[in-house]
Amino acid sequence: GAGVSQSPSNKVTEKGKDVELRCDPISGHTALYWYRQRLGQGLEFLIYFQGNSAPDKSGLPSDRFSAERTGESVSTLTIQRTQQEDSAVYLCASSPRHFYNEQFFGPGTRLTVL
């Protein structure tokens, strides 16, 4: 595709339910990033993939958060037993190998936990 796509665009769930958020990076981009953006706040790094390995998971806030990536393609961020404080926009970005400074962002998934 032309850009990074994310689905769903909006997700409303009940506290305690699990959610899966999907990211399709730009074709050929080997690096993939997940960020969390709370309302009116900055970008909080969650996890980074190079190919299908995750050398940096330091931003995952708890063991309820996990992410996977298939090859150099789609990634899924899973949040188990969602809490109200998980409500935020989850952004995905990708970048070409060796150009990780220039990240291309998707439109985000707005997650609301009731």
Partner: protein
Amino acid sequence: QQQVKQSPQSLIVQKGGISIINCAYENTAFDYFPWYQQFPGKGPALLIAIRPDVSEKKEGRFTISFNKSAKQFSLHIMDSQPGDSATYFCAAPIQGAQKLVFGQGTRLTINP
């Protein structure tokens, strides 16, 4: 040491004026300084970037000024337009970590 501090948090400028957003960093190993622009409901998009071997970079109405000794860099938007109203983030790469650290963002409003 791995942070960038951005100011102001919000800024209101009249159409045609100059918008200035500042960022300060601590880690002298930072070697690339991008600015991202984010419109409501959209993801951030790379706007302009500078490397520390130059003091200024200009692209159209957008200019980055870099002060290595003060460890500061700033974004200037000349002849600001209502369409420039957005949130702006400065960022810097963390050397060896292959990721960016972002400032807290500045919400810019250009009044017509």
